[in-house]
Symmetry: C2
Subunit: 283 residues, 2 copies
């Protein structure tokens, strides 16, 4: 999916909502827990309940890998189901990968090359610590996206990402240097950035460096981020935002009505997004 | 495996060699490529040919994940085979993971909790970019190890890891700040560091900060690192080094004699290691 197609999708659905698919069986309603493939049944119910309101889904690989082969099978089944709505959805592998070149090539194949792995995501999250040659192999895939970690939503972001570094462009925070440096690796057509919504004021600093790139904003909902702030500081003329909510939607209820409650939660977010898109003059 | 047990293993085998299991089918000998589970057959042959010379094996997850379910099955089969030699081997998942707390917990289960995922590694490589709460969940597992990326062996290490940062301990390189900060998260009994052998002189700086921790040193062999330098600057009174070679052993020959040639390569390294251990007065 190109940047233009993604923007058109956002306009069509009046939403920039991404639903994080982080299935935790212990939080499932009892009737789902008993299913043969509980994870797929849960995901399918969430997808059916939210797919007119969301533009993207983001399975978090850890939640599937921790269950071994069975978990990967549930993810493949989920992706095959999402495939049916391909033209109306952007699919993100939240994997936070990154390794030396020949290994990153294998990870890129994992998420982008269906004939190898069974997966055909549009984008994958990548960690920047190992630098250019750890990211470049993902960018070699046409029409696929790297979503590079810049400023994450967790407390640990303060340990390194916010520390000041002596960069060629001056003394800046590490995450700013990551943004500045990585601009030379890709562009707004193949690279997005993770920027935590819990640090919305820093979005201004981010936008000074990468005005055009899409930002994937986690941390709205369970992690305490604020959607209005994210839009105020982060929106651009292509919207430029994909805002993720996981737990606040998935586990809105642990009862028989979980899908209905998930939809209500997603609906509230979509309505807020619609109004923010209007305020910004995009709708 | 405890640090003491690991040291005893090194003394017993007169080796600190780790063999990286990065199976690339295109480089396999023709007769292996035709096997039903070519990856397992290849790994098994390499393990059988080197296991008296190596103290550790390090499957690189990307090479299995890129093949989907089939690849994961080959890895589980490989791990089950290695299980038979548990007391004489240290098993490392080279996965370079790291995410917010609840996700890192899932990754820790993936590699450390056999009842969840089918895997029971001793250690996993972890990326530091997301800070303390992304690493801590791995440290909650008793008798398991985090191997944190500090200074990697690739060209991209210069992009961020070697940049100077204004840290509380003074203006230091980012990788030095990662070492300094993470010392407060774990200790020499549960945390090792990745330090690339291609930058052996920097090992002195590393040892000033973490004198006691084991270092996992990739990049000897195909990546051009020097074993003697690594030992000169990195060895401590528990050896403190695990030196990895992958491609130079695995693909020493692409012919019927590949296992024999792999053994010859591993044997050369083991002999060099034995002599370095003697020079250092540990044998």
């Amino acid at each position: 999916m190109t940047r233009k197609e993604l923007f058109q999708l956002i306009l069509r659905k009046k939403s920039f909502l991404c639903v994080g698919l982080d299935p935790d069986i212990t939080k499932f309603p009892a009737h789902i827990r008993q299913a043969d493939d509980a994870i797929f049944e849960f995901n399918k119910a969430i997808i059916d309940a939210t797919r007119d309101l969301a533009i993207a889904y983001k399975p978090n690989l850890a939640f599937y890998e921790s269950l071994g082969i069975k978990g990967i099978q549930s993810l493949i089944k989920t992706m095959d189901y999402l495939e049916g709505f391909r033209s109306e959805l952007f699919l993100i592998a939240d994997a936070k990968r990154g390794d030396i070149g020949n290994t990153s090539t294998q990870y890129a194949k994992t998420y982008f090359e269906k004939s190898s792995s069974g997966f055909d995501f549009d984008a994958v999250t990548v960690a920047p610590y190992m630098g250019k040659d750890s990211v470049a192999p993902f960018l070699d895939f046409i029409n696929k996206w790297v979503i590079l970690l810049a400023l994450t939503s967790n407390a640990g972001a303060a340990d390194f990402q916010s520390q000041r570094i002596e960069a060629p462009e001056g003394t800046v925070k590490l995450f700013e240097h990551v943004l500045q440096t990585s601009r030379q690796w890709g562009n707004a057509e193949n690279m997005m950035y993770v920027v935590g919504a819990t640090q919305a004021s820093m979005l201004q600093d981010v936008r000074r460096i990468v005005p055009d790139n899409f930002l994937l904003i986690p941390g709205v909902g369970a992690q305490g981020g604020n959607l209005e702030d994210a839009a105020r500081y982060g929106m651009n003329n292509h919207c430029g935002l994909i805002v993720n909510a996981s737990r606040s939607i998935l586990y809105a209820s642990a009862d028989i009505d979980f899908a209905e409650k998930a939809r209500a939660e997603a609906f509230t977010l979509q309505k807020e997004m619609e109004s923010l898109l209007k305020n910004f003059g995009l709708l």
